[in-house]
């Protein structure tokens, strides 16, 4: 291997690693607030890429039907559980079904008016983000105080359901979206693609934005408070459902952006989400599902390992990446002291 190849692999690894990094941060967030190991994180990535691809092909994205389905089922669940308390029922619908329905309308409008690329991108982010509250409402709110294991089982089930819906509404064809930029820059003998730079810039921007959100905003602090002490949070009026829904909505938004970033780099199928999410998960595990900076570093490391192993042992690339988790788990089991469950 010469320096040029090493530089190329590093660039590739950092690009994928940045996307895994975003997903790892989302996983840590959702776990800290809800104790859910959020397996369907990758599905948001996939839905985002597939939505933008459909826009580009002048087709109506299947997202419309997906959102309508989520809105309808969530509204039905609200009617079933809250029909005795119309006020609370309407409030729940306003936070769950309404955004999903509005997003469906938006996607339909943008697709039929064939609006510009920038608007398609924004509509994609809005559409995928709007799935967050419905996913929380339907899958996790009813069992919010269950054990971590039960939550994980439901999380796996949600992953399969969403993958199935992905096949139903988007079809089995793979897509690749157009790059945001086709520029490339040369430093010495190494050429760096503009798309990679864009991925780095966006990742850095999002990481900083998340940091500011947690440090300075009321909702950011409310999420930290819920993660730190559930009872304490309830006593100041932060409902676990509000925090849970917010965290999964943020993770949907992060997934949406990740999908836009990965779309031009990799071919995305309805079922690509699992492997993508799993790589973010390996990163998050390095941080013990608790530390944001360690999770971020771990995810970037995963990207680099993946890139270099695809050069040396391309057939074993995924095996090598996932084998990483074993030494990590060993290391963690020796270094962490178990904190008591509250």
């Amino acid at each position: 291997m010469d320096a040029t190849i090493a530089a190329l692999l590093t660039q590739d690894g950092l690009t994928n690693g940045s996307i895994y990094c975003l997903l790892a941060l989302a996983l840590v967030l959702v776990f800290a607030v809800t104790r859910v190991i959020f397996v369907p994180q990758g599905e948001f990535v996939v839905f985002s890429a597939l939505t933008l691809a459909a826009f580009e092909q002048n087709k109506l994205p299947g997202t419309v039907w997906l959102l309508i389905a989520l809105a309808a089922v969530a509204a039905f669940a609200d009617v079933l559980s809250l029909w005795r308390e119309p006020k609370r029922m309407l409030r729940s619908m306003a936070g769950t079904s309404l955004p999903a329905a509005l997003a469906a309308l938006l996607v339909w409008g943008v697709a039929s008016a064939q609006m510009s690329f920038a608007i398609q991108v924004l509509a994609t982010i809005a559409a995928v983000t709007a799935m967050g509250p419905a996913v929380y409402r339907l899958a996790f709110q009813p069992i919010a105080s269950a054990t971590v294991l039960t939550l994980l089982i439901v999380s796996v089930a949600v992953h399969f359901v969403l993958t199935g819906l992905g096949l139903l509404f988007f079809g089995a064809e793979g897509v690749r979206t157009t790059a945001f930029t086709s520029e490339s820059f040369t430093i010495g003998s190494v050429s760096i693609s503009g798309q990679s730079l864009l991925v780095y810039a966006f990742t850095i921007f999002l990481v900083i934005a998340m940091g500011l959100f947690f440090k300075f905003t009321l909702f950011g602090k409310a999420l930290r408070a819920t993660a730190a002490n559930r009872t304490g949070a309830r006593l100041v009026g932060i409902s676990p459902n509000f925090a849970g829904s917010l965290s999964i909505t943020l993770s949907a938004a992060i997934g949406a952006v990740s999908g836009l970033l990965i779309g031009p780099i990799a071919t995305i199928y309805y079922d690509s989400g699992f492997l993508i999410g799993l790589k973010g998960f390996v990163g998050a595990i390095v941080g013990g599902l608790a530390s944001y900076p360690v999770a971020a570093a771990g995810a970037i490391f995963v990207g680099l390992v993946e890139s270099f192993s695809s050069f040396w042992a391309s057939a074993y690339k995924e095996v090598i990446v996932f084998t990483l988790i074993i030494p990590v788990l060993l290391w963690r089991s020796f270094t962490t002291t178990h904190s008591e469950e509250e």
């Binding site: 009321l218 602090k221 409310a222 408070a225 730190a228 002490n229 009872t231 949070a233 100041v236």
Partner: protein
Amino acid sequence: MSEALLEVSDLHVAYGQVEAVRRVSLSVPTGKIATVIGPNGAGKTTLLGAIMGLLPSHGTIRFAGERVEGYDTEALVRLGMTLVPEKRELFHEMTVLENLELGGFSRRRSGESRAALLNTLDEVFALFPRLKERQPQLAGTLSGGERQMLAVGRALMAKPKLLLLDEPSLGLAPLITRDILATIAKLRDTGLSVLLIEQNARAALKTADYGYVLETGELSLQGNADELLHDERVIATYLGKR
């Protein structure tokens, strides 16, 4: 007795098969301090947990005229009831100031302005100047007394009508206990209603207007606080010799 802000009647709370609180009826008049005293394990914490919506219960609970049994804790906070729990439940990795800000979460969500919260913050700092000095410090690094001040301060940030206090004296030196109870009395004089749970019967009865004695889940005695202070049974069991 003036009109009751909180009225609990025939409350039962069970952990599985075991009823930890049975047939409890009590009330807290507006602008007064009612106290529930009783030995360790009597069910005092359980009683407060049920009132605050943290534990499921049977019976009726009226707050400001509204039936609130079965309400979420968050909804009760919005209505004006806050609890300072036995374990404080502070956010240890966050600063004193952040803990206080979060105390006002419910008000911010119902649309109150940042300025209104800053006003309350000033009032809390006036009551507990120590907290003002410790604003940037992490809550987990505070001393026991400071933590209790922070827990009370955080509860006051919600601008409650009714403050539920679970053993504010627990683990604190007598002098600090006296300070905290004096602060509670001061708050009562500004119109706040308080339900004070205490093992330290003498201090509690001296502060309160009305008292209840809870023993193994049931109320055994009640009366005006100064009467209870001189009640033979209370003296024998809870006050001991002077």
